[in-house]
C-alpha cells in the first residue's frame, strides 16, 4: 500500500505536502542541482513588489543557537522581471508555483494580484503581511487585524487564484487575526513568518545586523510556531500551512497533527538540501506505521486528552 502524500488546499492540488518557504528558495531554480524537486509540492518564490528593491545594508544575517537571524529587507527584482526572466524556467520543474507578494500600500497588493491572475504557471498567491524588516507594508499590515483583513479583501478582489495570507507571530491573539482574514476571503493561511529578534556584539556594543533588528528562523522557533499553528487551526475552517524550523519528518508531523494541511521548509534547506527527500520518506514511513491511507487524515488529530512525557 502506498500512502497518499498529496494534499489539497482550497482547490490547489499539491503532489506532496512539502513547500519551499518564501525567501529561502530564491526564484525557484537556484537549487536545481542539489534538491530533488519531485519531493516538493510547491515553491513559494521570494517576496515581490511591483518594482525592484535594494534591500538592507549588510551585515544581513547572524547565527544564534539553532537559529538564523536575518534582515534582508526584501531585496527583489520586481514582478515584471520575475514573470519575464524567472518564471519560464521555473514552470517546467514540477512543483506548483506560489508567488509571495508585498506592498508598501494597499493598492500595490491589489495591483500585484491583478497582474499575477493571468500569468500562466502561477497557482496561488501568498500575501506577505508579516516581514519584520521593511519600513512600509510587511508586518505593519499583519499586526493589525483590520489592515490584515483589508489587504486580504483587496487581493481577493483582484484574482481568482487561491489567496494565502502569511501571518506574523508577533501578535497577542493569532486566532483573532486568522478569523478576520478568513472572513475577508482568504482561501488558506500560512504561518509563521520570522519572529522579530536581535543580537549584539558585547565587545563593541554594536548590533549584529546593520538593520539592528531582524527576524529569527530555524529550529529555535519551532515550538512557538507549532503553538501558533495549533491555535490558528482551532480558530478557522480554511486550511493552514505550517512552518517554523522544520528539519525532519517528525517536525513536519508535529505541525500536521497540530492542524496544518501542508508545511513549508525554509532555513533547514540552507543547512541540508536533502531535507526534502528525507522528510517526504519519513512522512510515508509514518503513514505506513500508523496505517494511514493518506497524510491528510492526520491533519488536526492532536489527542488533547493527556500529555506524553516519555522519550525525554
Amino acid at each position: 500500500m502506498h500512502p497518499d502524500l498529496s494534499v489539497e488546499i482550497s482547490g490547489l492540488s499539491l503532489t506532496t505536502p512539502l513547500i519551499a518557504a518564501s525567501g529561502t528558495f530564491g526564484y525557484g531554480t537556484e537549487y536545481r542541482d542539489v534538491v530533488d524537486y519531485s519531493a516538493l509540492g510547491a515553491i513559494v518564490v521570494k517576496g515581490l513588489y511591483l518594482n525592484p528593491r535594494p534591500g538592507c545594508p549588510p551585515p544581513r544575517i547572524w547565527e544564534t543557537p539553532s537559529g538564523m537571524l536575518n534582515a534582508i529587507g526584501l531585496q527583489e527584482i520586481g514582478v515584471a522581471r520575475f514573470i519575464e526572466e524567472k518564471l519560464p524556467e521555473l514552470r517546467g520543474l514540477g512543483p506548483a508555483i506560489l508567488v509571495n507578494i508585498c506592498g508598501s500600500t494597499l493598492e500595490e497588493y491589489g495591483e500585484l494580484a491583478r497582474i499575477l491572475n493571468d500569468v500562466e504557471g502561477v497557482s496561488g498567491i501568498e500575501i506577505n503581511i508579516s516581514c519584520p524588516n521593511v519600513k512600509e507594508g510587511g508586518i505593519l499590515f499583519g499586526c493589525d487585524p483590520d489592515l490584515a483583513a483589508r489587504v486580504t479583501e483587496i487581493v481577493r478582489a483582484g484574482t481568482r487564484l487561491p489567496v494565502i495570507p502569511k501571518l506574523s507571530p508577533n501578535v497577542t491573539d493569532i486566532a483573532a487575526v486568522a478569523r478576520r482574514v478568513e472572513s475577508a476571503g482568504a482561501d488558506a493561511l500560512s504561518l509563521i513568518n520570522t519572529i522579530p529578534a536581535m543580537a549584539i556584539d558585547v565587545e563593541t556594543r554594536r548590533p549584529r545586523l546593520a538593520n539592528v533588528v531582524g527576524g529569527l528562523s530555524g529550529p529555535a522557533i519551532r515550538p512557538i510556531a507549532v503553538r501558533l499553528v495549533y491555535q490558528t487551526a482551532q480558530a478557522v475552517k480554511i486550511p493552514v500551512i505550517g512552518m517554523g524550523g522544520i528539519a525532519t519528518a517528525a517536525d513536519a508531523l508535529e505541525f500536521i497533527i497540530a492542524g496544518a494541511r501542508a508545511v513549508q521548509i525554509g532555513t533547514m534547506n540552507f543547512v541540508d538540501p536533502s531535507v526534502w527527500s528525507r522528510t517526504l520518506a519519513g512522512l510515508e514511513d509514518y503513514c505506513r506505521r500508523h496505517r494511514l491511507s493518506s497524510i491528510s487524515e492526520l491533519t488536526g488529530t492532536l489527542r488533547a486528552e493527556g500529555a506524553m512525557p516519555s522519550g525525554w
Binding site: K46, R60, S66, P219
Partner: protein
C-alpha cells in the same frame, strides 16, 4: 554541477597556533572546482546551524583530495578545527566565481592578508602548470600568520612578506610592498584576498595605475546558493555607470569580483 558531497577528513597540518590546513577526500569536489571557488561546509557542534563558506585551498585530483585553510575565529571554525580524523562533513560545491588567469603578457601579482591566502594556492598551482610565476605578497600580524609561504616557494612563485610586528620580512602592512612591484611590472594583473581595509588599499593603487584587479570577498553566508541574500556586496558595473548600483551576492556573482565594480564607500565592513 553543484553537489552536496560527503567528504572525509584524512589529514591535518598545523600552520600556526590557531590555523590549520585540513585535507578532505571526496568523490568529485577535488576535480570539479576552479581556483577561487568555495564550498559550504555543514556546521558541526551543539546549537550550530548554518553552513560555513571556505575557499578551496589546494587540490590533489589524483587522490580525490582537497584542502581548506581553517583559522579558529568562532564556534563554527573551532568545531571544524577539532573534527577528528576519519570523520566526515557535507560539502556543498563548487560554488561561486573564480579567478581569471592574467591576460597574455601581464604579470600576476597576488596580495593576501592572513587567511586570505587560502584561494591562491590552487590558483598558483594552475599558474605553475602553465609555466607562469606569480609575485606573491603575504601579510600578517606576526610571522606565524604568513601561512603556506613554503608551499608557494615550492611552486616556484616569488614571495615577499610583511608583518605588523616585524617578526618576518618587512615591518608594516603588506600593501607597503606593492608600489615597488607595480613599478617593476608595467603590465600587471592584481589579485587580492584578505581584510577589507587591505583590499580597499590595493584597489586604490590598482585604480590609480589602471591595473586590472580581481578581488575575492569574504562574507558571512547563509546558503551559498544565491537564495538567502545574506552575503551581498554593493557594486556598480562599468555598463551601469548611470545607475546607483546594487547589492550583488558574494556567493553567486562573487566571491571573485572585478575590484572596479565594488563601491568601497558603501561597504560597511571595518577597515
Amino acid at each position: 554541477m553543484k553537489r552536496d558531497e560527503r567528504a572525509v577528513l584524512v589529514e591535518r597540518r598545523a600552520l600556526s597556533p590557531d590555523a590549520q590546513l585540513l585535507f578532505f577526500e571526496s568523490p568529485t569536489l577535488s576535480t570539479s572546482f576552479l581556483p577561487g571557488q568555495f564550498t559550504m561546509l555543514r556546521a558541526q557542534g551543539e546549537g550550530l546551524l548554518l553552513r560555513r563558506p571556505y575557499s578551496i585551498c589546494s587540490a590533489e585530483p589524483d587522490k580525490s583530495r582537497f584542502s581548506l585553510l581553517v583559522k579558529v575565529v568562532g564556534q563554527g571554525t573551532r568545531a571544524l578545527a577539532e573534527l577528528p580524523l576519519g570523520e566526515d562533513v557535507y560539502c556543498l560545491g563548487p560554488l561561486g566565481t573564480f579567478f581569471q588567469p592574467p591576460a597574455e603578457g601581464r604579470q600576476a601579482i597576488i596580495v593576501a592578508g592572513g587567511v586570505g591566502i587560502a584561494p591562491f594556492l590552487c590558483f598558483c598551482e594552475s599558474l605553475a602548470q602553465q609555466g607562469m610565476i606569480a609575485q606573491v605578497l603575504l601579510g600578517g600580524r606576526r610571522a606565524h600568520d604568513l601561512y603556506l609561504k613554503d608551499d608557494f616557494l615550492r611552486l616556484g612563485m616569488e614571495v615577499a612578506c610583511a608583518t605588523e610586528d616585524g617578526s618576518h620580512g618587512h615591518r608594516g602592512v603588506v600593501t607597503d610592498l606593492l608600489p615597488e612591484l607595480l613599478d617593476r611590472f608595467e603590465r600587471a594583473q592584481l589579485y587580492s584576498c584578505g581584510p577589507s581595509g587591505m583590499l580597499r588599499r590595493v584597489a586604490e593603487m590598482a585604480a590609480q595605475r589602471d591595473v586590472p584587479h580581481q578581488v575575492s570577498i569574504e562574507r558571512r553566508m547563509g546558503c551559498g546558493m544565491g537564495c538567502c541574500l545574506g552575503c551581498v556586496v554593493f557594486t556598480r558595473r562599468p555598463e551601469e555607470a548611470e545607475a546607483e548600483g546594487e547589492y550583488r551576492r558574494a556567493c553567486t556573482e562573487g566571491p571573485v569580483f572585478e575590484a572596479e565594480e565594488i563601491l568601497w564607500e558603501r561597504d560597511p565592513y571595518p577597515l
